[in-house]
Amino acid sequence: MIEKIRQIGVSALDSLAGAGRATMILGSVIIGRFSIRRGIPLLIKQIYVSGVLSMLIVLVSGLFIGMVLGLQAYNVLVDYSAEESIGPMVALALLRELGPVVTALLFAGRAGSAMTAEIGLMKATEQLTSLEMMAVDPLKRIVAPRFWAGVISMPLLATMFSSVGIFGGYLVGVEWLGVDSGAFWSVMNSAVEWREDIGNGMIKSVVFAVVVTWISVFKGYDAVPTSEGISRATTETVVHSSLAVLGLDFVLTALMFG
């Protein structure tokens, strides 16, 4: 009996310690001094790896999601002869919700898991320890550029996702189903607000970026340095960041548009 209670205590302490280590990493990454001469090339390399290389999947999914949204919206709205409204429907759905959320989910799967695996393998092969031996801070050299690269590139990817999605909605609605092009844009124009919709979508996307990349680098840095540990850490990255994004999205939506 007392042993059971002890196990609960141990797991609670473990998760607390994990949260503490994660906060320490985030703190040292954010506070840590950034040297322009050495930091910028590392940052650019990581933006390339996590941002530029994720562009294809983000653009293609954005296009198809916009097209599907346009098609579904058309099928419902045509009954009320309000098919011009697919413009605002597609744009608002993408800018407010799908753009930030789906980009974050794709980013977690495409770049976050890679980050975790890379850092985890560095830990398993004791590269992080050897960096420390050479008096190079692995947090500064390895973790910080990846974190900032993720935080920078995800909002950029989300804007591309939304605009390509709107273009997809345009393709389906106007080019295929024959909604009037002028009405499509002007109804969308009067429904979408810059601050309210685009601005809040960007804020969401930045929040998701911080959460997803934080989870990714932490899971990698904190991985058990075995092959099994790395595989578990990679899975945890995808699962935890997806759950965190979806949960936070509800909270942010309630705060912003509630």
């Binding site: 650019i44 390339y48 562009m55 605009s163 390509v164 709107i166 124009n189 979408v192 607000e193 685009i198």
Partner: protein
């Protein structure tokens, strides 16, 4: 032979530059084409005011139309503190600044359930009529038709 692709720093920097540029283009497209842009409105505008007894569901940025053509937007809606009547500020394109004082403004609804807009009916022009200057008030206005009131009146008239 397995050949590893190696990107040198320069190539990576160029690609990242494209990436950032593409996303800024996307943001530009979103803000100019998708959202209501304050930038797009022409700098020269012509402002008229109108008092309505009831503005119904009229909103700021609602279109102002003459014969179905949009020539401006509602800039603001305020309540006159002296007589408790809503005052609507209409910002029109400066190309259409030749409205006479017999012009009438009415709040109309596009379709049965559509959004509300202001329809201007240009007045006649003779030697006695004057053109409305920038900042003038349109004297002749018709309030919004409130569907609920109409239904209420209809039901009331049915009772007799």
């Amino acid at each position: 032979m397995q050949k590893r692709k190696r990107f040198d720093q320069r190539k990576i920097e160029i690609l990242v530059g494209f990436f950032v540029l593409a996303s800024f283009l996307a943001l530009l497209m979103l803000s100019l084409k998708v959202a209501t842009s304050e930038l797009g409105t022409s700098t020269s505008s012509y402002t008229l005011f109108a008092k309505f007894d009831n503005i119904g569901g009229l909103k700021v940025r609602a279109p102002i139309k003459v014969g179905g053509v949009v020539i401006g937007r509602v800039a603001s809606i305020e309540l006159d503190p002296n007589d408790w009547v809503p005052v609507v500020e209409m910002r029109l394109d400066a190309d259409y600044n030749r409205f006479t004082d017999s012009t009438s403004a009415s709040i109309l609804t596009s379709g049965l359930l559509g959004e509300q807009y202001i329809g201007l009916q240009p007045g006649f022009e003779d030697e006695e009529s004057e053109f409305l200057a920038d900042g003038d008030r349109i004297p002749d206005t018709k309030s919004a038709l409130v569907l609920e009131d109409l239904i209420g009146q209809f039901l009331y008239s049915q009772k007799d």
